[in-house]
Symmetry: C2
Subunit: 127 residues, 2 copies
């Protein structure tokens, strides 16, 4: 039984909190969208598409929709004709920051990736 | 440039530590294998297959192979004819524990999933 609002009928694969979380963010892309919304001031579809990993548009669309359905992000229109939106993290979405930080730390120590400090907004480059 | 031994030629999508980590564990299953090896004394192919999420055998095979290639797990034969293996986490694999703990915490708070305490080896059931 999900606590997040509009998915209360969803049947999870198991009662494991890790398994449940991976049903939402367990892929190569979703946590990168959250990273960009959380730390890098990227809030439009185009901003998100322009990240270094070059997320394909169809993948970005499905992932944004899934995050909205689960209540991790919300969107607000910023123009009409055609309507375009900015995307922001909800409170539940913002709470994934500790997950991002731990994944970043592991990748920094074991795969030579860069390291971002959210407090100073400074990055150490990758090896 | 990977620090883990036999993947030094791998071209990552970007220098981001999160993106690099997700190239290895960014799917619905891999962190569940790590969970079972880390906390639940599941070390054979059959043990891992029998978990509550019922991982398909072909997916389990590809994920175990990827984790071995990247040096997060290693295997040891425990019988001949047919040869069968037990799987264990390496030092780099064991260091993902903090990632698992944060993902579990988020899923417990936001999706009503269970919570495991590695120190007491006790679980709180899912809602």
């Amino acid at each position: 039984m999900a606590k997040l609002s509009d998915k209360t009928e969803h049947q999870f694969r198991s009662g494991c909190s890790i398994s449940r979380t991976l049903e939402i963010v367990g892929d190569k892309w979703t946590l990168l969208i959250i990273r960009d919304l959380m730390w890098h001031d990227k809030h439009t579809f185009k901003d998100l598409q322009d990240s270094a990993e070059h997320m394909p548009a169809n993948i970005l669309t499905t992932r944004l929709n899934r995050l909205m359905e689960w209540g991790l992000i919300y969107r607000t229109p910023y123009q009409d004709k055609p309507v375009r939106y900015t995307y922001h993290l909800t409170e539940a979405g913002l709470k994934t920051e500790t997950v991002l930080l731990q994944i970043m730390q592991w990748g920094h120590e074991n795969l030579g990736g860069g390291k971002y400090n959210p407090e100073t907004r400074q990055s150490l480059s990758a090896n």
